[in-house]
Subunit: 157 residues, 2 copies
DNA sequence: TTAAATTACTTAACATGTTAAGTTATCTGC
DNA sequence: GCAGATAACTTAACATGTTAAGTAATTTAA
């Protein structure tokens, strides 16, 4: 297209921000979207967003979690969690029970139809994941996970 | 809080999706947010979103880019690009010129005040980046970039 | 030459992220 | 007890992402 991208390491010392077009947030975003693309179309067939699927997965793993706990694990903010649980409850995929000892809290449970939906989606999801692992390499994926975790830890300090 | 998280590698063989709470999209998102947090507050002082800043950075690097080209480089979709350029133009940070030979296209240019804004923000941005690099380690960052790029390439096939 | 297809961009509509304000319930210190 | 602080969630408002439809300019091909 045009004749740029020919120099990679011969940066003159006066470039102000750094090699352009290369920023951690952009690279992370791009990678995330590339991965998500592999899952989203399948989820969409069942009218689930990635976020809703996350919630269902965590509930399948451990029933009866409270909203705040779930939000933290799913890496969602409370307003999103609120919206999602309202939606999933309306669709009969989860049920909600107020905690007797603290009526501000509510626990969420996967309903039977939620479980059925999970069991429909999970296998294909696992298969896609397997495919990604094979394409990219088991060790590299693990290394990537580790780097990402370390990055988060490093930046928290 | 509760007694979970004590097993990490002793997974029974029947776990369906994989170690829970560990998914590539979530890890990538979390890392991205951790990084962005370091920049956003500074950008906000100048009323810029990360996306707007991206556009300005690319224009600073190469003036007169067309919208589609910019959108591709900034990893933005055209509707977002359209909104952003309208906003930046209204604020006088960029100017837009219709291409004579093809009046559908328009080229974008950083205005003087856009350049001034850039030069105000860039140093601190570079400094933050430098800080991240030091906290996390130069080689690890480079390795991370490489893995992310490779992941994207692997998934495209 | 001109009707159909394509391209560059815009607009609209809706999902999601995010901040702040609101509600109701629980806790704290007096 | 009880007023004030805090906590768990909800709602509202607005920015952004995303898909689809719309518009206008250009290309194509009969």
């Amino acid at each position: 297209m045009s004749q740029l991208s020919s120099k990679k390491k011969s940066l003159p010392a006066d470039l102000p921000v750094r090699e352009f077009g290369k920023s951690l947030p952009m690279s992370l975003l791009r990678a995330r979207e590339a991965v998500m693309k592999k899952f989203i179309s399948h989820l969409k067939k069942h009218d689930l967003s990635p976020q809703q699927w996350r919630v269902i997965r965590f509930l399948q793993q451990e029933d009866g979690l409270e909203m705040s706990e779930l939000a933290e694990r799913c890496f969602l903010m409370m307003p999103s969690m609120s919206r999602i649980s309202k939606n999933l409850e309306a669709r009969g995929l989860i049920t909600r029970k107020t905690v007797a000892s603290d009526q501000r809290r509510s626990e969420l449970f996967l309903s039977d139809s939620g479980r059925i939906l999970y069991s429909k989606i999970a296998p294909k999801s696992a298969e896609r994941y397997e495919h990604i692992t094979q394409q990219f390499g088991e060790e590299k994926i693990e290394l990537l996970y580790q780097l990402l975790d370390e990055l988060v830890v490093a930046l928290k300090e």
